[in-house]
Subunit: 338 residues, 4 copies
């Protein structure tokens, strides 16, 4: 554990995320006009987008579907060799699905599911964004011109998924993708893992698993886009408000991650975070920060609490599960994922 050289380093970073929406046009408006993402390609039922700071051609795929939710989560490996290693290791579990020919913006990928059922893939070959005339930045080191449109989010940052059980999913992505745990919320004297926040880079977390209060599987809590300054988050709140978008909570500061957040629902129903701040992790022997009930409190640093919807709503929305209905999980504590 202390020897970083033994740490699996095949995954470079969270590569891209596919989001499902039953309202593709309205969702596209939200992401391009309000968040300020750039649409770079359309194909089939999907539009491919990017933040002005993403180096890849696309980091975000928006796909029409009957219900909102997560399409898939893609991880870029550090090399072709690393991709092979990951594919082989995952294929040896019962969660591997097989190779795919890739998609717009990236090459072949190996697809699999996490224990909770979320679809994932690993890939290496990535099309670096080459800004066309008119989209080039005055800054040579910036992949694309800052348009100033909408909130102007810079890049995909992370996502949080719900899981019927946190532990097995956390363990799976730690073992097979090399994600390191940054923070955990564990209640009941260590007996109940409410959530785990994990990353392969210095960024606080790229993926979080949080317990699904409704006992369902494969759901999304939120995806999150980075913006450079807290003032940008405040400005984003004005833009969302002027456009009639439901702000669920924020802008405010989490204690977990220290990040400054703003959660709204895009028209398709998915929860989207605009995110800034937090802290970077550099220590090779970083010890996860574990919060119990008392320490975690409401999860809101400056006081107040997250609304019930934040703890109950996810996509796709589901009715209470049979278990829940049967009273099997009444002891599930209030949870507050990032």
């Amino acid at each position: 554990m202390n020897d970083h050289t033994e740490r699996l380093q095949d995954i470079a970073h969270l590569g891209h995320v596919e989001l499902l929406t039953p309202k593709p046009e309205e969702s596209l408006w939200y992401f391009t006009e309000l968040l300020g993402l750039e649409a770079v390609h359309a194909e089939g039922q999907s539009v491919y987008l990017r933040g002005y700071g993403d180096y890849a051609t696309t980091s975000f795929k928006l796909t029409e579907a009957p219900a909102p939710g997560i399409g898939h989560v893609a991880w870029r490996t550090v090399s072709e060799a690393a991709l092979e290693r990951r594919a082989q290791a995952i294929a040896a579990t019962d969660l591997g699905l097989g190779w795919s020919n890739g998609d717009f913006g990236h090459g072949r990928c190996y697809r699999f599911r996490d224990p909770d059922g979320h679809l994932m893939e690993v890939y290496y070959e990535e099309a670096r964004y080459d800004a066309p005339e008119g989209k080039r930045s005055a800054l040579k080191n910036q992949p694309m011109r800052y348009s100033g449109r909408g909130a102007g989010v810079r890049r995909l940052d992370h996502l949080a998924m719900l899981a019927n059980e946190v532990g097995p999913n956390r363990a799976f992505v730690a073992q097979h993708l090399g994600l390191q745990v940054r923070e955990q919320v564990i209640y009941q004297n260590g007996g109940f893992e409410v959530g785990a926040w994990m990353s392969t880079t210095a960024v606080h977390h790229e993926l979080a698993y949080v317990i699904d209060a409704k006992g369902a599987h494969g759901r999304l809590h939120h995806i999150s886009f980075w913006i450079d300054n807290r003032e940008d988050v405040l400005r984003a709140a004005d833009i969302l408000s002027e456009n009639g978008v439901f702000i669920e909570t924020g802008p405010a500061k989490h204690n977990n991650s220290q990040a400054f957040y703003l959660y709204s629902y895009e028209p398709g129903g998915n929860r989207v975070e605009i995110y800034s701040g937090g802290y970077l992790v550099f220590a090779p022997d970083f010890q996860p920060v574990v919060w119990n009930e008392e320490e975690r409190g409401t999860g809101v640093y400056w006081g107040g609490a997250l609304p019930d919807s934040f703890l109950q709503y996810a996509t796709p929305d589901v009715a209470a599960s049979a278990d829940e209905t049967a009273g099997v999980t009444p002891e599930v504590p209030k949870i507050d994922p990032l």
Copy 2:
């Protein structure tokens, strides 16, 4: 080059920096009262400090000396084994100096010089900061209480050193420490390397080498501390101004690194940067951004130029070198290190 798994990953990050000052009391006042660093220990002619966000007990050592300048630059390895590997590899060059028993806050280290003569060391064992009562943060994941004192810098970020020649030094730290090049300024159709910005983490740069306009060796251009928001940098400028500290340039935005900067001289004469923004690097196959004369311009993104002192002054200050006097280096272009 494309295979990240082959990349040397023995160094985790820039660990700490020692700064020399002929005015230890005034310098200490500057760093603690104006920048907001915390002094955690004093020993001999040195005081050991930290930012509230540094996980190590100390990231910055301030030592009395006849002249200002850099004392040494320390890199933390990812493990003991990595430390051994680095020591052996460097010992095989003619730049190794040998093992030292360590210092307050960290264990044994292997010392060496870079080709330009700057003193460096690698170490692994580090004392994680354990905040005493009264210094603990309300945030469990924050190593220390945010005091709100002075500018309130969060952590050590990077340093920029001058070198008689950039290339050999860049190559040395790439080979032996695994630093990756992020940006370069190369003039004269590739014939003259003005500077190189390098890192081992997702942070834009931890170390820069910039040509020494005076042809000297072993000098420091600046050390830099991170602050979370650009507004904090503006506020810092007010604090420095109210305290009569010379602001050399900024707050403004570099094109190289995209960072928002503020440079002042601490009382001992060293240039210190308060720094925020910039961009993180995640691509395993990141291609260094190279700027030529025209692209680089003044180095200031929004217009204007860096003052002459920024290009000429470094610590220790030196008279024109013999070479310079002899007219050997009149072709040295104006340089603008970060």
Copy 3:
């Protein structure tokens, strides 16, 4: 109404406020160390303070008392003649109390009560702050050095008082002090005035009256200090949190006034706001903005709601009034003063 020349302009601005506290030492710590006010004088049971941007020697008096609450509210007139006019006009009502010899920082004043019983005074002669050596700003146009201590509030901005009935108090200060109504919250089809926000300057409001949910008299909802940037408000929230101060609500944005707010309780029990943003009023024929139940909503622009305490708690704290106990005022709607 449309003819501004007919408008009473005898009052220049809100001059100073006296706050009562049962915990004078702790309160003083809060105002000087956390908010960053400067103590300039102590006399009897009082300490006199100022923000670095206040032009007067003191804008805020903190006085030991058995219970928290408002001591008095002082208005500066535009001239001695205006002071005489105001004194005569108020003396002609049954609310005048008579002349006083003044206090530290200002000359004679005429004291009176508003209909709800809050103590007020008008005065003209004011001691402009003359910063002693060591407190002078590097900016000639800034009355005092920006210390950077704590949140660093700039100046007294406004206060909000509760009243058993809003209308008579609003009318009194409009008639006798020339305060103009900026915004009102009126429920029940115009039948129930929940609050009125008023000013004599371009600043959005210097004084608000809000209905006292407990049917009491003479109480304070909050006093408010201005800070220049919203980022400063966010930073203040960190400082308050690190010092264990209860943050009641915010940072967030009101719809009424558009201001960015942060409410905490000082140790003596009084609610204090750190405030930035909002809008200035220049129109000579400005029409008050009136909000009904639906328009007002929760009073929080970006969503969420103010906590019950914000609507129920004021200083001095009182048990339910006899009227309330008797069920006379059950129809009092939820109120949300700024």
Copy 4:
């Protein structure tokens, strides 16, 4: 001087400004797409614009003309009676021009010139902005929806005009418009008035007169638009940079006014400021702050200097005047208007 009631209060505030441009389409693009102003009307060679926070229908008129410069400066009175008084008083000087029927957005006005020749007018009747469907804000107290387009300036703030002599112009607007002096730069032991900053409201200045270094008449130094936060100014600098607009100087902080500024040239050649911060003036007996050579320094608070163009360039641009050519004004010091 001390008796505020004697102060002329016929003028409520700076009402609107007309700017001349030889490149109307490009200028319109700059003001709407980059600054974020809203075009509300077009007529003849003019387009009428507004900031989202301006209460009037229009605060800014952009008119095609052979050369850039100021068209006219309009002051709103507090009433019709005040308008009559102002018209009569000015008519009694030799600078009155007579009544005009008004223009889009306002009623009849009385036109005149200041001693330096700039065209001005006073008016009372103003069309309050009534936002059409789709432009209404979610905030009832905000005249128009915040679009988030471009820099998103809120409102017209002030303008600075050059004058062959400052004193007579300052005296004229003080006497006839009631503008109060806030700050002055006076060199040569009181012998040479470089500039005067004046206002009728709590806002630091609505109008500045600065000496014309070229000895010309009737020229404009800059017009200035307010934005709420310094972060917005920094963001504006990115937007201007990405759009190839020349940034002359800033973002930085003036010592005079304490304001945070960013100056660029709109395509027609006029200098435009994006402005935030500064301080409000409430004292009825405010004493102007006067800066001499040493105190004024470069005019830039945090160090550095304003570029020569800032001191030399104005619109319309002129060749050196005969006087200047003849060497009559070589003693004109470097000037640095806000």
